[in-house]
């Protein structure tokens, strides 16, 4: 399983700057990022090459940050790739809390990051489709 970092941030100017400055100073590289926003505040989610170091850096800066496990599924970058996964999850009636993707190499490989209620079942579904999930190390070795 891969690790994702979530940082609580108020929705005001300079917040993303602060978050990325802390990562830069800790020598951490960002793989992917997404922001969930509720208006007054939001949660910044990050995939980084050194999740432990990044979480520690946020905490010692006094920020609310947490590290959770997510599934990083390696897929082919071609039409219908995401649909296969989504329909498998749908027929198994698995709810997706959060999902985002990024392309590793155009027309070759992409990664789908999934946060679901039931990671174990998703793992077996994914391997049934002939896909595999990435560990932290694999994710950043891409």
């Amino acid at each position: 399983m891969a690790h994702q970092i979530a940082v609580f941030a108020e929705n005001k100017p300079g917040r993303l700057g602060q978050v990325t400055r802390i990562l830069a100073e800790a020598g951490v590289n960002i793989r992917a990022m997404t922001i969930a926003d509720s208006g007054q505040y939001g949660v910044i989610k990050l995939l980084v090459d050194k999740p432990g170091i990044a979480t520690g850096a946020f905490k010692s800066a006094g920020m609310a940050a947490s590290q959770t496990e997510v599934l990083a599924i390696l897929m082919d970058d071609q039409p219908g790739g995401l649909y296969r996964v989504a329909s498998a999850l749908e027929s198994a009636r698995i709810n997706i809390s959060d999902a985002y993707g990024f392309i590793v190499e155009s027309k070759q490989q992409a990664v789908l990051v999934l946060d679901t209620d039931d990671a174990v079942q998703v793992l077996s579904l994914v391997s049934g489709l002939g896909l595999r999930t990435l560990t932290d190390d694999e994710l950043y070795g891409l």
């Binding site: 994702q4 970092i5 979530a6 609580f8 941030a9 108020e10 969930a36 509720s38 007054q40 505040y41 939001g42 949660v43 989610k45 905490k59 006094g62 920020m63 609310a64 940050a65 947490s66 590290q67 959770t68 809390s97």
Partner: protein
């Protein structure tokens, strides 16, 4: 278990006799001050004709404005040569007032403080760290001399410099602290940052919290975090400072020392007395002060008297936790709201930090309340929906408590300013 068994457990009739004797002497002292001699003359009051405790009600109330207008020494009954110290109110709500003490007054005050601390379990074997401001603020020197009178090792650490406070607690094996509620909460954050577990790496047994209104939920939060007993302390500069009322180990209301103060509880609007058990404004008369007695002082503090006696055996009546100062009361859409009501709701939620701010605004002629509270890093899971549920729940809980619907904003940890003196909890930005 009692510091002064005969006084603390004195049967009520004897205690009331004692009050009357001391009251008569107090009236004689008061009559020597310019303020009270003029007032007695203006009201046609002959102090020799006051024969019962009920007769006290013929004397008009003294209010804060009287003390301000007679600044600096209109209520002083003696000369500067006879007095040895002054204290002054913090002046947060206006012009300062001054209280004078002669040696008798200081001795009496120190004894009351020792009685309070002893009643809450403190002994001369304890190590007492006084983490509040010294100087003009009565909380510092009041507790300091009480602790020395008790014979405990006393550390005058004063407020601020949080890491040094914790260093002193560790190296001197401090068992007992006096601290302002908001600063007890600040120290929790500092202990977390330093990675010090107060239950295992400190030696604390008890804390005295006072000087700011705070909620029962805050007491429980502080007790659980530090692994200690927290005792409520009540006092005000006009009545010496701390040591007016204090909790015993029953932790069920604060014993008001009736050999030093006469208590009345009145309806703040009608000024008529209210029965025990009913909330009203506390009114005090000093009866053991020589340099500057104050008669029937309206505190603007709201509380009630417990009707039943305390299991501890003390006969001095107990007052409830102070609901709030009338001055702190907010009026929103015709509803009276105290900051402590909001604090009670916030402190019940483990995901929230201890620092909060209430902002009042007026938009298009409609009042709005915005409650800003920090999230607690330890409880953050990264789940936005959970935060939204928490926020919605908080709005609902607050509406139940204060009857209006506030906005709730969740803030990043440590983003609100912290104060090492009395915390500012309300910002009223309404232009009335």
């Amino acid at each position: 278990m009692y510091w002064e068994p005969d006084i603390e457990t004195m049967p009520r009739p004897r205690l009331e006799n004692m009050q009357l004797t001391k009251l008569k002497r107090t009236l004689e002292y008061a009559h020597r001050s310019p303020f009270y001699s003029q007032r007695f003359a203006a009201e046609g009051i002959d102090i020799n004709k006051l024969r019962t405790l009920d007769d006290l009600r013929r004397i008009p109330f003294t209010v804060k404005q009287d003390l301000r207008e007679s600044f600096p020494d209109g209520l002083l009954c003696t000369s500067y040569e006879d007095v040895v110290r002054i204290h002054s109110s913090s002046g947060t709500t206006g012009q300062i007032i001054v209280v004078f003490y002669n040696q008798h007054d200081l001795d009496s005050w120190s004894n009351l403080m020792a009685r309070c601390m002893f009643g809450a379990g403190t002994r001369k074997t304890d190590v007492f760290q006084n983490c509040v401001g010294y100087g003009l603020f009565t909380g510092g020197l009041g507790f300091h001399f009480g602790s020395e009178k008790l014979g405990a090792l006393t550390i005058p650490s004063a407020s601020g410099n949080s890491r040094r406070q914790i260093f002193l607690m560790q190296s001197m094996k401090t068992t007992t602290v006096h601290i302002i509620p908001s600063y007890a909460l600040v120290l929790m954050t500092v202990l977390n940052e330093m990675g010090v577990d107060p239950r295992k790496e400190l030696f604390l047994k008890r804390a005295f919290l006072g000087a700011e209104p705070y909620s029962e939920a805050t007491r429980r939060r502080v007790e659980e975090f530090y692994g200690i007993d927290v005792y409520n302390s009540y006092g005000l500069t006009e009545m010496n400072g701390p040591g007016v009322a204090f909790e015993c180990t029953e932790k069920a209301g604060m014993h008001l020392w009736e050999d030093a103060f006469i208590l009345e509880v009145i309806d703040p609007d009608t000024q008529e007395p209210v029965p025990d058990g009913q909330e009203g404004e506390l009114v005090f008369t000093t009866i053991d002060r020589q340099a500057m007695p104050i008669l029937r002082y309206r505190t603007k503090d709201l509380a009630f008297v417990y009707p039943e006696p305390c299991p501890c055996g003390r006969t001095h009546r107990r007052i409830s936790r102070i609901k709030g100062r009338i001055d702190d009361m907010m009026i929103m859409k015709g509803v009276n709201i105290f900051p402590t009501q909001i604090e009670t709701t916030l402190m019940k939620v483990p995901e929230l930090g201890s620092n909060y701010l209430i902002v009042l605004e007026r938009r298009n002629l409609v009042d709005e309340m915005i409650v800003k509270v920090e999230v607690r890093p330890e409880f953050f899971t990264g789940d936005l929906r959970r935060l939204e549920r928490l926020r919605a729940q908080l709005v609902a809980d607050l509406r139940t408590e204060i009857l209006i619907t506030p906005k709730v904003e969740l803030l990043e940890p440590s983003s609100l300013p912290i104060s090492e003196g009395k915390a500012v909890r309300v910002q009223d930005l309404r232009e009335l």
